[in-house]
Symmetry: C2
Subunit: 390 residues, 2 copies
């Protein structure tokens, strides 16, 4: 009865778990959302009121598929500054970053194509890929991003269509790919004729260390599709993202968007455009960086203090996640059940792996949603759960 593509699909374990996590006293590191105390609710309230009073005929009517022109222009300007737009490129607004991924996959992938991705990777990206019935090949992560030698060895013998990468402050690992590896990835794309989807929802949130140029900024040949998002910098509820692609690819992406939801909700697009007009976006982002640096650092410190010494973890320079490796013999799925009973939660590694069985020793920990004292308390609890599990 169902299409083949959906037969094997399961709901996101993370989102299912959210329902359990609503209990009071729960300290959850399982989320992936920005800190709500950063939301500019007052200002956006005034902005939305003004738009609907003065311009309802635009805000409430059908909009164009490519996006509300002033928001599109602002976003394009910002991306040009970052070197992410080349002569062959176009940019459209999408309904969140997730839609940018899904439309790219819909445009490029046939059933049975091979897609390479980081192992671990983002659950929403993986599930979208699974819905196109493609073969997923995971490449192990190193401290400076995916193992490029392993990728090269693979593409030498195996035709691939696309590499999906979250190169900066990766979800779930917090790892950033080095500039050297970014250039190497692009040269492989050229040599072995594949495309790259650079998913960059966290790139603006660097709170320490040096910026690394995007893969897209090196993309003179039009091999990189770039997905951006305002979810982590303004609001995920507004569902505003964008995609940059070579014009011939964009033409197909636009048609896929047209049949998918006609256009992105107009009012949030107008609100964001006006927000950028009356408020300095970089000042707003600075506030987020201060908050996330404090929380990220606190989590690293607390893990070093409370987890068994044999546990290791990444030390992100931005973003909202870190990745913890448990000693040999642990099973993070079982650990999660015990942790939730002890009122602390994380995302089990199995959820994040192209091959779930390879995730037993890993935990994704989010630090954007929890105040520092609660981070400490939660990590202490989790440390006890880990010790007791052995």
């Amino acid at each position: 009865m169902f299409a083949e593509r959906v037969k094997g699909l399961k709901g996101s374990a993370i989102r299912e778990m959210f329902k359990l996590l609503a209990q009071p006293d729960m300290i959850s590191f399982a989320g992936g959302a920005p800190a709500p105390e950063l939301f500019p609710g007052e200002l956006l309230g005034e902005i939305s009121n003004k738009i609907l009073k003065e311009n309802a005929k635009v805000a409430l009517q059908y909009g164009i598929t490519e996006g509300y022109a002033p928001l599109r222009d602002y976003t394009r300007g910002r991306m040009e500054k970052a070197g992410n737009i080349h002569g062959h490129d176009d940019l459209i607004i999408t309904s969140g970053g997730q839609q940018a991924l899904d439309l790219t996959f819909k445009t490029l992938l046939n059933e049975g194509d091979t897609v390479v991705l980081e192992s671990p990777s983002f659950i929403g990206g993986m599930n979208s890929l699974r819905s196109y019935n493609v073969h997923l090949h995971g490449i192990e992560m190193q401290e400076d991003g995916m193992d490029i030698d392993a990728l090269e060895a693979y593409v030498k013998t195996q035709k691939i269509k696309l590499v999906y990468t979250i190169a900066t402050f990766q979800n779930p690992s917090g790892i950033t790919m080095s500039a050297e590896k970014r250039k190497k990835l692009l040269s492989l794309a050229d040599k072995y004729d594949f495309y790259i989807l650079e998913d960059n929802p966290y790139g603006e949130l660097r709170y320490k260390g040096e910026d690394v140029p995007t893969i897209k900024s090196f993309d003179t040949l039009g091999r990189v599709i770039y997905a951006g998002s305002y979810s982590k910098t303004i609001s995920p509820g507004l569902r505003l993202g964008w995609v940059i692609a070579r014009q011939d690819i964009m033409e197909k992406i636009v048609i896929c968007k047209q049949v998918s939801d006609v256009h992105t909700t107009v009012l949030p697009q107008m609100m964001a455009a006006e927000f950028f007009e009356v408020y300095d976006f970089d000042t707003h982002i600075e506030k987020a960086k201060v908050l996330y640096r404090e929380r990220g650092d606190e989590m690293c410190t607390a893990i070093d203090e409370y987890f068994p010494k044999a546990c290791t973890h990444t030390v992100p320079e931005g973003g909202i996640f870190l990745w913890c490796t448990l000693p040999e013999g642990y099973d993070s799925d079982a650990l999660l059940k015990e942790a939730v009973a002890q009122k602390v939660a994380f995302v089990a590694g199995s959820t994040c792996m192209p091959v779930p069985e390879e995730g037993a020793r890993y935990m994704r920990l989010n630090y954007s949603l929890t105040a520092p004292d609660k981070i400490r308390e939660g990590i202490q609890r989790l440390g006890e759960v880990i010790r007791n599990a052995k």
Copy 2:
């Protein structure tokens, strides 16, 4: 380079044409949008301001895939009253009615499946279907809906997966399927094991005649998926629709929505829920009916007065479109070019047909966006274009 599914896809001719139609003095019957003078901009402005001031942590944060609970509950209540929810059904909020169609197709259809639809049908539905590489079989329309005998003859020899129908005030024809045909369609679905997608964005807009029960209201066996929309009754820009389906089908639809856009923008969902709380929705719909009856009647009268007698047209009892048949030998694509030069526009039949070549004698005329005096003037112009084309 591209996926097979997008190779043959072309942008919506209607949306492309919108760009030409922005000229002043143009009288366009080509649109498909509700009258903007009906938009409750003032009230929604106040509502959005209140929500963002008091509840930004919900409005701006990630929401759940199934939709904002109060809007989902309200919609479910309204659908229960209409008999559209059976024990086996569930309802979720979608990003406009278009997403409800697209998710249903994604959930049910494999490449090569056969889908039956009305000929003519809705361009957005057809283009979504085309993106799944299915075989489209059009069934001719009669005064009381699709030719059910022709459908029966077809399904006797050909396995089909789905019938896609806009049974009430159809886009583009304005025709409503009789209750008798609805029941027959459902009995065929049962006998020949196919599903029905009932797309009902205009059903609330009956301005004359007797209500006909939805196909979904007869659906004791769970064969009907029902797509609803607030686009024509509140605002298309807010992108709010819904889908009702049997729970096992809904489970897959929800997963497809999760990978498509995670969830529908939260703020518009909260705005609609609050709007229904503080304002009587039926009173609002009554205003639309009064406006559309006046405009629809005026268009019928003007056509009878100004078009050559050999032209015929449907006489809708609701909705926003009527369908005009030109005498033998006309080509509505060529006619459209001449009409636009004379500052009047419509949608050519070819755009609306599963087999475009069969559309030469037809025009879709929209009356929701134009004041009565302008409708008269535009129809007079178009009448002259038709006479001069012979």
